[in-house]
Symmetry: C2
Subunit: 381 residues, 2 copies
């Protein structure tokens, strides 16, 4: 054989404490679920697991939408699914941008041929609903208004109520990125009248990365049915995928069986705890962590009113080598936190308190470890 055998050792991944922007710590019950025997994608036992997964997703999204399912890709595949199914060449979209994930929405919407009007806010702040409303009026009948509920690059929680109302009044479909909020931060899809909301498995749902839950309102489903052109992505074409998930069990692609076992178990854990309890837990641990940060002399990027409970941006103190601090946390304390992205690179750390990771003991440990790591690197508060 021209290409010889390579050498690969057995993996022995360390039990890192994942307190970065995701993946988050996975509940051991979910890890065990991943290794259950693989069923066929049309096996009657698997079809029951699919139906239950959809029911539990409707609960965490707080929606009655029939079209609610996990896409076979990571959170960004959920974003692309939302946009590629709704938008056609020449359609108008108003998009809120206050971080990397808002920018990503614009990038994908443009690849769909949409004319995008961007409403920007400084990174670290929420969008001004009045400016979004102004853009909706100026654009005249945008097809889509898209915003990020939980901006993972900044740690801002975007209030949705007035933006959603304004968009619906203008006849637009409301698309919301809930990758870092679903399951951990209050989000009531039907009450707010949101049309397409997507998320990822690896944040507040405490499942490994690889699936993108999505929910689609009947209003949006009708827009998809009435498209003039085929969806440009075959893999993410909801009109085909829903035939497998919701009606005839018509084969589209082979579902990622074991990942869906994991998501099913992760959702069962949220159902057991109760969604409101999960929201409250995330909020309480986030407040405790921020209080602790202030006590040791550190500051958060985002003002308390707009702070995301699942992801906290911590300002890097002047003169501190932020990468060195993260390296110390990783190598000496086995804790992962994240650095800044885009224009916040080098200026913040990103700390995730998500899902199974949002626990008091993790708050205490990280505060203590962070203080030591900072002292090691010459910081005196």
């Amino acid at each position: 054989m021209p290409i010889p055998k390579p050498l690969a050792r057995e993996r022995n991944p360390q039990d890192r404490l994942l307190m970065g922007p995701g993946p988050s710590p996975v509940n051991p019950r979910v890890l065990r679920a991943l290794s259950e025997p693989t069923l066929g994608h049309l096996d009657p036992d698997f079809l029951s697991i699919m139906t239950e997964t959809m029911d539990m997703l409707r609960y965490v999204f707080q929606t009655r939408n029939a079209l609610t399912l996990p896409m076979s890709g990571t959170g960004s595949a959920g974003m692309e699914t939302a946009l590629v199914n709704l938008l056609e060449t020449g359609d108008k979209a108003v998009i809120g941008v206050a971080g990397v994930f808002g920018e990503r929405i614009v990038d994908i919407a443009r690849r769909c041929g949409a004319e995008c009007t961007v409403v920007a806010a400084p990174w670290g702040e929420a969008l001004d609903p009045g400016r979004v409303a102004g853009a909706i009026r100026a654009v005249r009948n945008p097809k889509v208004v898209a915003v990020v509920h939980a901006e993972t690059s900044t740690g801002v929680l975007q209030p949705l109520e007035s933006i959603a109302a304004e968009a619906r009044n203008a006849g637009a479909l409301v698309v919301v990125d809930a990758v870092t909020s679903l399951g951990g931060v209050e989000l009531q899809v039907d009450r707010l009248g949101l049309d397409v909301v997507y998320s990822g498995s690896q944040k507040c749902l405490s499942c490994p990365p690889g699936l993108a839950p999505i929910t689609v309102s009947e209003r949006a489903a009708k827009v998809i049915r009435d498209r003039r052109s085929p969806v440009q992505s075959w893999y993410l074409d909801l009109s085909m995928i829903q035939r497998y998930w919701t009606q005839e069990r018509f084969y589209h692609h082979t579902a990622p069986i074991n990942m869906i076992y994991g998501l099913h178990e992760a959702l069962r854990i949220i159902v057991e705890e109760g969604l409101e309890s999960s929201w409250q837990r995330h909020l309480a641990n986030s407040e405790a962590f921020c209080a602790g940060l202030h006590a040791i002399g550190l500051h958060t990027l985002v003002s308390p009113a707009n702070r995301l409970p699942s992801l906290i941006s911590v300002k890097v103190p002047d003169g501190v080598d932020e990468a060195a601090v993260r390296r110390t946390l990783l190598t000496e304390f086995n804790i992962e936190i994240g650095g800044g992205l885009g224009e916040l690179k080098g200026r913040i750390w990103r700390v995730g308190l998500m899902g199974h990771g949002s626990r008091e003991r993790n708050v205490l440990l990280l505060l203590a470890a962070l203080e030591r790591a900072l002292q090691k690197h010459g910081w005196a508060s």
Copy 2:
């Protein structure tokens, strides 16, 4: 909460013997790998696992292509990745169609705006290389020539050598679907001069579904770099994804960490066995199974010269209710086999002998169980 808690039982998936068109039986070592602790997608330990996974994929593809990695989706995402990165609006493609997966290539290529020329063969037969060569000449400078190496809907193995040579002589890029052949059927990417070859994790690699290995020649990578327009899929854009997998570890999307553990272990198992031994094992078990079929009076759809070792199409005898036979196999023997797709629906069974499932004991068991199930449903050979 308006949407009440749903009930979902603990899963208890049966240990089915998966002898359909995929997913195939997963080696227990791979199932265990899935439940190892989740690492961050930029963790140094995970980066080593990525590098080793790429090395082992190069071995199973028999290629030196730098751009060789698993896409974060199922086999169909691999197909879309190949086409969406190479094709732009107005590009010409010659596509071989002799089953569902050839049709799928045409569907996706058209969504990329390509002008497709189809070279068809009857389902159950291979493409005529002379007719493919004729189409390549008639189209004049097609950008892409795409064929399915192992057509999962019919059980045909397509010889690639002369088609690939003809395409390259015409300056076209050769795209090959190896979803049901990679790891189980001889395929030497560099020796044949193939440009883009994709597969799925859940066939001869014995891993659960969810990843799509792909390899891209330097010639094809240059075509991607020189595109006039952005790739229409952000999620599958190889020019961005390779920055995460091969150069700067620049964040694109969060890799499906635990699935990659599974693929890494599945590839280690193939390396231990040796690729040629795996090809020989698939061939030997397939021949034994076909001999057994003939001994009990059943016939294969495909003539021996074009028969795919990993997937055998068995003709349903006249007067037999094919779905009833499959139900009996599932409920009484806990064995899954597949039915026909598309124009072969109701006319064939599809039997997979793939990866960990290609074993003598499975051949013997299925032959015995199939004979009993047929007798139960009134068949006398």
